[in-house]
Amino acid sequence: MQDHSDKKANEKAGYGTTGHEWDGIQELNTPLPRWWLWTWYASIIWAFCYWIAYPAIPMVSSFTKGVLGWSSREAVIADVQGLQTLRGPMTAKIEAASLADIEKTPELLSFARAQGAAAFAVNCSPCHGAGAQGSKGYPNLNDDDWLWGGSLDTIHTTLQHGIRWDADKDTRSSMMPAFGKDGTLKANEISATADYVRSLSGLPTDKGADLALGQSVFAANCAACHGDNGEGNQDVGAPKLNDKVWLYGSDKALIMERITLGGGGVMPAWSTRLDVPTIKSLAVYVHTLGGGQ
């Protein structure tokens, strides 16, 4: 094992030393096995081969490509294609099944929910939030309050054609007039209407609010779309005004802002960007978040 023939043997250890000594402390020489040295040389040679075979050295505007021509980008493309092939049979089933059948079949439901969640994270979460919780002007998709309908089919249509998306001729379209900006309503009328709208869902109104004026303005200008009692109309995307969910907030100032500026949110049409099974999965995913009707 150890080579004991070294020039300086430590007397107590009966053992060769490296000859190094610091303040009387000697370093015992326990030589490593020679094969260990060879594995080290082999690792160095391996590293050189690796260097030549694979992308390695950064250059000014690029890098050495390596003789094997391997690239991480192509590996990802191959991986994605592999996954698509693997998911092929399930994707075909999703494409063939009706939306209602997907929800009724546990196997299809769990696949659609997983695929829908992934597609949602990439395409929808920038506006609707990671958990589809929404924010001011962007609807929360978890609740039971739907602008354009919460059934599987209406959600699917909204996904396909978008909202106020001019490039799609079947897009969902409606426009709330800018009552204040256009000069249709005067400031006191807008204020009274905002108070009246708050009263529809039982929220407290300002002291001395002219609810009668608000009611008459509402009946003349708003009820056509939002309904006589603010029950909304999903055919034209007019929000319910008598419930506890507020798209732009329930403060009086925020309601006045909406009456003054009018308008409405925009959502892209996804049929030109995503394939049929992905849109179906997204519809199922959104429908099963909890608010589906």
Binding site: G19, P31, R34, G131, G290
Partner: protein, 490 residues
């Protein structure tokens, strides 16, 4: 003389070698009681290793019928009556802790029993050495042949030896993969080249490592690669039985002739006649007479060799024996031998082994037939509905570990007014949402819990209890979580 060497007088001297070439070891054949124990253990351990995959165990139609199987594609491990799922990997942790403690206990009782008799490295090296001896002859013959220039006979003998080694290595690797798939099927597939490529790759890698470790590297694995010798040295004590040269009896060592002369004139003479037989038979090439040694795997072969010599020269056997430091010192000072198998450390190890083993057996015996896991939605943490109700979403995972499909109902407690719904469930049973989970399967579901406005209060969020009940026999699994609302603390 340079300036640096003025401070360090050794700098000008040539450096000693930092790397040492391996000295080929030619272990000699030996007969005796320890050799016999080693042969028996070799037969038993290799027998278990080679035949265990073929042992069958009936688990019904939905599970494999192999007694010991690690089913990686289906994420299951089977060991006779035990079935382990990935989330129960703590059983494996427990098993490893138990294995370590048993190793420690063995070491505290009788040193490196593991190294000397049971370690796969030792067992296979032993087998490879036996093959070597059978083909190339014993120590002297091999040393003589290796000293000569290579000729046709040497070449053909070595070729035969390496071929048999490779065959044994291939067999070793070939059996290894049988623990990961149905053994009889895999053997058929392997033979007809229809098995998965990974099976062939595994066999190839294990053939290579077995051939290298047991054939070529042998004691180098123990000396330079294995951590146990180093740990073992720190765990042993003066009461542990170790293969020991009894220097109190052996020293001063001298030739048989000189010892006889010395004894005749009343001078001290040890029993060791420096015949070097203990070194010749040692598979790791150490000299046990130098004392406890990192290279010594305590296989006891030197005991057999020395006993043989002692018998021949008519001296008492066991000059080398399983002995303790404390007894050597006691004999030197004329005291009797003591054996203390029950010491603080052996007691502690034994208690820990019994304790951990007991906990594991208890856990296994009371293993839940199905489990329930509930995870609260991270985002949104609550949803306000149009009528003012609050809803929380949960991901619920049900694992059915039984061998047939089960139907469960899910109930939630902890709110004044609550409604529970399972997305994609199987209707209702007795007013509660129902769900069925297939045999030996896991199912993940989305569950919604709705509460009235009175549950939206200041303070800590309400504590929920989910109860999963087997419709068939009423057994339950329980999990807890929270219900969060706009006004609760979150």
């Amino acid at each position: 003389m340079s300036l640096a060497s003025a401070f360090d007088p050794h700098l000008d001297e040539p450096e000693p070698p930092l790397y040492a070439a391996r000295k080929q070891i030619y272990p000699q054949a030996v007969k005796g009681s320890y050799r016999r124990i080693k042969w028996i253990l070799l037969t038993i351990t290799l027998g278990i290793y080679y035949f265990l995959p073929f042992v069958r165990w009936d688990r019904g139609p939905s599970a494999p019928s192999q007694a010991v199987l690690i089913d990686l594609p289906h994420r299951r491990a089977y060991f006779f009556f035990i079935e382990i799922w990935p989330q129960e990997v703590y059983y494996l942790t427990g098993l490893l802790i138990l294995a370590a403690l048993v190793l420690f206990l063995m070491n505290a009782m009788a040193g490196r029993i593991w190294c000397g008799y049971l370690c796969p490295q030792t067992v296979w090296t032993d087998l490879f050495m036996a093959v070597e001896r059978l083909i190339e002859g014993d120590r002297r013959e091999r040393m003589h042949r290796d000293a000569q220039p290579i000729n046709l006979e040497t070449f053909s003998l070595k070729l035969l030896k390496h071929s048999i080694w490779l065959l044994l290595s291939w067999w070793m690797g070939g059996v290894w993969v049988l623990y990961f798939a149905d053994a009889p099927t895999l053997v058929k597939d392997l033979a007809t080249f229809r098995a998965e490529p990974i099976a062939y790759v595994s066999i190839l890698v294990l053939t290579f490592t077995t051939y290298t470790f047991a054939g070529l590297m042998r004691e180098q694995v123990c000396l330079y690669m294995c951590p146990w010798p180093r740990i073992q040295a720190a765990l042993t004590d003066e009461h542990a039985l170790n293969v020991t040269y009894r220097y109190d009896r052996g020293e001063p060592h001298m030739s048989l002739k000189k010892a006889t002369q010395a004894r005749s004139i009343g001078e001290p003479a040890g029993d060791c006649i420096d015949c070097q037989q203990c070194v010749a038979v040692c598979p790791t090439g150490v000299d046990i007479r130098q004392g406890p040694n990192l290279g010594c795997i305590q296989c006891g072969l030197c005991i057999d060799a020395c006993d043989d010599v002692m018998t021949k020269i008519d001296r008492p056997v066991r000059l080398i024996a399983y002995d303790t430091d404390v007894n050597i010192k006691r004999r030197q000072s004329g005291l009797g031998e003591v054996f203390k198998p029950i010491r603080a450390r052996t007691l502690l190890y034994a208690i820990m082994i019994v304790g951990i083993g007991g906990v594991m057996i208890y856990a296994l015996a009371n293993r839940a037939p199905f489990t329930l896991n509930v995870i609260h939605d991270r985002n949104p943490i609550f949803v306000k509905l149009s009528d003012g109700h609050i809803r929380n979403g949960y991901t619920v995972r049900i694992a059915n570990m039984l061998s047939d499909s089960q139907t469960f109902t899910l109930k939630v407690d902890g709110l004044h007014e609550s409604h529970i719904e399972i997305i994609g469930g199987e209707g209702e049973i007795g007013g509660l949402p129902a769900v069925s989970v297939g045999a030996d399967q896991t199912r993940e579901l989305r569950v919604l819990v709705r509460a009235g406005e009175e549950d939206d209060r200041e303070g800590e969020p309400a504590h929920l209890t989910f109860t999963l009940q087997d419709v068939h026999d009423g057994r339950t699994a329980v999990a807890s979580d929270f219900f969060r609302t706009p006004h609760s603390v979150h």
